[in-house]
Subunit: 133 residues, 2 copies
Amino acid sequence: MFSKETEYALRGLVYIQTQNILGNRPGTDEIAREIEAPRFYTAKILQRLVRMGFLMSLKGKGGGFFFDKKKPELTIKELILATEGDKILTGCGFGLNNCTPDRPCKLHEQYILIREDIDKLVSSETIQSLAKK
Amino acid sequence: MFSKETEYALRGLVYIQTQNILGNRPGTDEIAREIEAPRFYTAKILQRLVRMGFLMSLKGKGGGFFFDKKKPELTIKELILATEGDKILTGCGFGLNNCTPDRPCKLHEQYILIREDIDKLVSSETIQSLAKK
DNA sequence: TTATAAAAAGACTAGAAGGTCTTTTAGTAT
DNA sequence: ATACTAAAAGACCTTCTAGTCTTTTTATAA
């Protein structure tokens, strides 16, 4: 469904948020261990997320990752769009690139419904809402 | 959603079936052109499908690809399982590999519903049903 | 003010997916 | 029989995803 990068980002961010709630700022080693993801790869992905402004970090002793509480909640959709673009939400199931609403391909009608459900799900859930579950 | 291989296979097989209905046995060049897919890659994918028994072919003049009319219709699901395994139909949206019904992950409940819809769609549609549309 | 801790940066590697091309094999029509 | 046609086989290449590792920068605590 999603790429590894999106998966690790999703799991990592939810873990960070659950720790933030407890007053902690986890670091890459802890995060990677807890979400069962490769250590260095997780670090790289988190760095990208910081650069994109989704997340904040502090270097040095006592440092780690945390969310800016002034910012609105981060929807899964925003995260997916940033890590792997909109192909899941705009692409056609049949794989015909010239499949448009007026010239739909043979799987279009049925696939549209599924795509809308995916869109609804990733639009309504946020990192913060998942962290509370 | 699907891999390129699955996409080209899907489009190629539907094209072959529509041509079979008209009494034709299209070859790799024609198929690749019509479904807008890379020529040699399409040929390779069709060869694999023949080896897997989904399709038949004839070499030499007047040769090409065709379906065995004695066989039952080929569901999209069978095709997907053969080309990319069952990860789309069994995998977890959240990407947690130890996500089971009794220990569900945080996106499980909602994702399950979408996965079931996908399963229903690919189980009900066949190459033959798509070719008729 | 220095030792230490942790993120940032970026080079590098492995493997898989996607794609190309040439040669071989096997039919078919003449 | 032979020439031609088309699939089969398989080597090869390219690109992208996933993952590793080392070095550099920056902050903090003692």
